[in-house]
Subunit: 131 residues, 2 copies
Amino acid sequence: MPNASRTPADQSDLDPGIAARLKRDANGLFAAVVQQHDTGEVLMLAWMDDEALHRSLTTGRATYYSRSRQEYWVKGETSGNPQWVKSAALDCDGDAILLRVDQRGVACHTGTRTCWDSGDLQAVVVTPSAG
Amino acid sequence: MPNASRTPADQSDLDPGIAARLKRDANGLFAAVVQQHDTGEVLMLAWMDDEALHRSLTTGRATYYSRSRQEYWVKGETSGNPQWVKSAALDCDGDAILLRVDQRGVACHTGTRTCWDSGDLQAVVVTPSAG
C-alpha cells in the first residue's frame, strides 16, 4: 500500500485542490468506477491513490493502484488493451471517481469485455404499481 | 460495521453459493456500482454486506449497508426515491457488485441525478494514433 507515513500531498503531484476534496480509506485509496464513454458499459472497478489519479488526469492513460501487487498499474501496459481517458469526476462524498474511458479490446483479465460479463446473480424483479 | 465475530453465513440468508464467491474487506463489506438499467448512467457507489445483497436480490429494492450509520439502508425509504432492482452481477474477483436498477427521481442525496454530476475533474485527453 502507499506509504502511510507521508501525506498524499507529499507523495503526489496531484492538484492540491483535488487532493483536499478526496476521502481515502485507511490505506490511502479510493474506488474508481470505469465506464466506456460512448456505450455506457461499466467495465471494471479499480483503486487509486492520489498519484494514480494524478497520472490518469495528466497522461491520457487510465492508471490504478494494484492492491495485490502494491504498485501502479497503467491499464493495458501488459495486456495490450489500453484505456484512454475521456473524462473524470469525483462523487458527492469525495471517495469515488467515475472515469470515462475509451477501452480498446477487453477490460477484464479473464478475456471478457467487462468484469461482470460472467457473474449474473438471480434477482427478484418487482414492478411497482403506477402512481 | 457488521458483527465481525460471526461469519457472513451466520449473519445472512444469502444463498451459500453466492456467499462462497464473495470477497469482503476487513469490515465484511464489498462495493456495489449502481447503474440505471436503460440509460447506462452510473448513479452511485454504495457498500453491501451479505445480508444487504440478500435483501437486494430478494425484495426488489436496492438495499445497502451504511458505513457511517452502521445500519441497513433501503434506498429511497427516507428520500422517496427508490431503486427497483433489474439485475445484479458479481465481478471476476468476487469483490464488486454491478446492480442495475430503475432509479425513480434522483439518486444523490445532494439532489442531483447521479453522485458525479457536480464533480468534473480536468483531464488531459489523448487521441491515440490509428493502428
